[in-house]
Amino acid sequence: MTSCREYEEQLISLAVLGEPVGAEFAPLRAHLATCPACRAELARLRQVEAALHTWPLAELPRDLVPLVMEQLAQEPQQLPSWQLLPWRLWVPALAIALAVGLCLARNLVGRVLPVGTPPPTAVLYQPLGAEGRELFWAIWFGLFFTLAGVGISVGLMSEGEGFDRFTSGLRDRWEHLRESAHL
């Protein structure tokens, strides 16, 4: 004999969904016809469902907007946590860092592989001489630093009212990062 407990889940589904017509509910319907306890349980579950669907919200005691805004006003300027600097600054800054890195790497490689070492395999081009290479790198780094400098200047100008604003922006960003770390 099937016990009432086996129909618990279906009983809830029946109460929640209304009148499911699937064949899987046929045994439950047959059981309900002979079980007053399950019929009573179904009635209670339907009562619960109806009451929950009309469950009113607790009344908001007062408008919270002014309170929240007051607290927000005491917060440091909201900035994306990943954004230490605006892109107008970090792109040229990254370019300078890259240029310095390349410069150091170049010097390092120059020491490990002395200038003039022939390539290990046949080449299809005529390599520059030592002087030509120095000139090439000088032009390359000069161009790099100049463009990065122009980028930073443009970035600073478009940031707003000069150096004070820039430093205060940096300070705000630092505070924001510290705040995020606390969270």
């Binding site: 809830i12 929950l52 469950w55 009113p56 607790a58 929240v68 805004m69 607290q71």
Partner: protein, 186 residues
Amino acid sequence: MDDPLEPWVERARAGDPEAFAEIVRATQAQLYNLAYQIVRNPQEAEDLVQVAYLRAWRALPSFRGEARLSTWLYRITTNACLNRRRQLGRVTEIDEAVLAETPDTGPSPEAHTMAQLAKTELWRKVAELPERYRAVLTLFYQAQLSYEDVAATLALPLGTVKAQLNRARQALARLIQGDDVDDELS
């Protein structure tokens, strides 16, 4: 995803407090209700909602928009409430004073029909359930979130949410009958 708060979200993310005020205006009733249903204390609920908004403001830049903003706010509020309850120790018992705070929806008990009285009684019975069940019921029935959104809000598996809802429904049915449900839900 069609989010009615969408026009305000981008501006608020960019740091516009006025846009955030609009978000607070649109969501405060639901968030307060959620907090109230969990903590069952009006003043504490109000404080926790403010804490939740402050956290949301700070974390807004990291909001990726994968869920609706309201769902994300529900999550922050639920976490704030449950964390506060954990700090205070598990408080699931409900006293009469708290039950008396449950909002009445009509002018007088006499004016209610029998069915309405039964509903009011059941809404009060919800307060006798443990807070995690109250949270699930509130999010599903009052905030009208889908099972999936409730699961996302509470960071629970979908099956757990469905099981908790079913257990809460059964417990309420038992409470109507006058049975004790403490063992069942603990």
